[in-house]
Amino acid sequence: MRTMKDKNYFVQGAIDPVFIGEQIATHNSNHGIGAHSIFLGQVRADEKVGKHVAGIEYSAYRDMANKVFAKIREEAFEKWPLNCVHIFHSTGLVKTGELSLFVFCSSGHRKESIKAMEQIVEDIKHKVPIWKKEIMEDESVRWVQD
């Protein structure tokens, strides 16, 4: 049982590219960092049964998801010598072309930051209770069954 409130990894709606630039900029005072690896998920306009996706509505089991994000992050720190790991995931509506996931790993050297980023993205896909509902151009909806 945790007495502190779990950290929140969710942001409402799309992730703003300006926010990403700002996050990068805040790391210029950490003088041990030599490499940043960043992954961004962007909503595609996939065509399904003749209609294009206009957006994705993300939902999650928030309390559990935040615990799983924290665990994924901790495991990365145990496995690689990392300076920083940041994860942001959208909840709610993200339109086509907008960003829904931002993973940001920093380390002294390139290999660790790339490997950690790759593993964290895989873990997020497989371990975090998040679901997508595609909103089509004509406002019909379709749950994504990966």
Binding site: Y61, V121, I130
Partner: protein
Amino acid sequence: MQINVIFFGVLSDVVGKNMLTIQDTDNMTDLKRKLITNYPDLIDYTYRMAVNQQMVEDNHRLFDNDIVAIMPPFAGG
């Protein structure tokens, strides 16, 4: 003895609600049988289960006031 069951993603549409309670069950296998009896459409869906936010398998023991999450395959990112 009462178990709280919460549904996510497509499964809350299938069941028609986000949450319900089930009485008199003490393991996941029995709980799943009771759910399928009440909501036969569930049988067409694959799902994973968590008890009190921990992933569990079928034979998991249940206790009074446990929170069971019934979850479709994850699709984050």
